[in-house]
């Protein structure tokens, strides 16, 4: 079990370095077992350093950078052990436009092997979806689900802006 854990760790570390590099070009990342002699119980140190930034505490990263780091790690786990489906609830909220696009593009690639469900308010993310369901509450307090097409969403947003 210990060597199984260690090979999983090594695989995740490998993938994490790749996904982090995808979201942070020029950056570097690593995963370290703090107690190398007891890998199974050892706390894991996560290191993520965007380009040009001094490596210190993760807490010094911005909100968006920490979100990208978490997403990179999550995708690394999926690359090593792909569960058949993935549910995402508004992980793109703190991201800037360029990062949303990277996130959505990565999902657009992942969806070929994994059934992806993503809750989002962001149009870039919606554009990569094969199916869009709108959840509405026309009757206050009562949820209803309807099929929508992307242009319905865009028209709705225009309508919202015109009010």
């Amino acid at each position: 079990a210990r060597s199984r854990f260690e090979s999983a760790f090594t695989a995740v570390r490998e993938e994490f370095r790749k996904t982090f590099h995808y979201f942070f070009p020029g950056g570097e990342a690593d995963l370290k077992l703090e107690a190398a002699d007891d890998p199974f119980n050892s706390p894991v140190q996560i290191i993520g350093r965007p380009e040009g930034k001094q490596l210190k505490r993760l807490a010094q990263l911005s909100d968006g950078e920490r979100a990208m780091l978490g997403i990179s790690l999550l995708f690394a786990f999926y690359a090593v052990r792909p569960a058949p489906f993935l549910f995402i609830d508004e992980l793109d909220a703190p991201l800037d436009d360029a990062n949303v696009l990277k996130f959505a593009s990565y999902l657009a690639h992942l969806k070929n092997d994994i059934q992806v469900f993503v809750i989002t308010h962001n149009k870039r993310t919606m554009e990569k979806a094969d199916t869009i369901y709108g959840v509405t509450m026309e009757e206050p307090g009562v949820s209803k689900i309807i099929s929508v097409r992307l242009k319905d969403v865009k028209r709705h947003h225009v309508a919202v802006e015109e009010t």
Binding site: A1, R4, F5, S7, A8, A11, V12, P43, V44, Q45, I46, L58, R66, A67, L69, G70, L73, L74, F77, Y78, V80, R81, A83, P84, F85, L86, F87, I88, D89, E90, L91, A93, A108, K111, Q115, V116, F117, V118, I119, T120, H121, M126, K128, A129, D130, T131, I132, Y133, G134, V135, T136, M137, E139, P140, G141, V142, S143, K144, I145, V148
Partner: protein, 172 residues
């Protein structure tokens, strides 16, 4: 394994019978704040056997059941079904698996696998036993992400390790 259909009745903000067909590829769930999107995710966690109320954003069990709106009265139970296509991950089970869970305000619970009543244990056994392993890291939101960044990745690493071992064993 592929999710095929989700049915909600009386679950949180879904009083009426709601059927959601789940396609391959990527599905986006969109809509205004408070319309019920995260509730759909809660229903999936719940029907897959989630027992921790905090993971479905409740503090008491009865918060799972539709508590009424301006026009509609509260309902007596919450009922969620999830139909999955078994693509070989569960060798001893049929090609279609329907999991169903119901909770009554009175506190009783019922569970079904393919229309046969069963216990929660059996649903958990199925989900653990498949080549897909646990559902441990299928649902991600901001708080889960913060946990990961905080270093809380042991569960994830163990799942990754668990499955790797299973695959090694299968190839022996």
């Amino acid at each position: 394994m592929k999710l095929k259909e989700l049915r909600l009745y009386g679950f949180k903000s879904f009083p009426n019978k709601t059927v959601l067909e789940l396609s391959r590829g990527m599905t986006a769930l969109v809509g205004p704040n408070g319309c019920g999107k995260s509730n759909v995710l809660d229903s999936i966690r719940w029907v897959l056997g989630e027992q921790r109320l905090s993971q479905v954003r409740c503090s008491k069990n009865d918060e799972l059941v539709f508590s009424g709106s301006a026009r509609l009265p509260e309902q007596g139970y919450a009922d969620v079904s999830l139909v999955m296509e078994n693509e070989g991950e569960f060798i001893e089970l049929p090609s279609e698996i329907e999991l169903r869970r119901r909770f009554y305000r009175s506190g009783e619970s019922s569970f079904w696998i393919n229309r046969e009543e069963c216990r929660l244990k059996e649903i958990e056994a199925i989900l653990r036993g498949g080549a897909a392993g646990g559902r441990l890291y299928s649902v991600f939101d901001a708080s889960k992400l913060a946990g990961i960044v905080g270093g809380d990745i042991h569960n994830l690493l163990e799942s990754a390790a668990g499955v790797l071992g299973f695959r090694e064993r299968r190839h022996e």
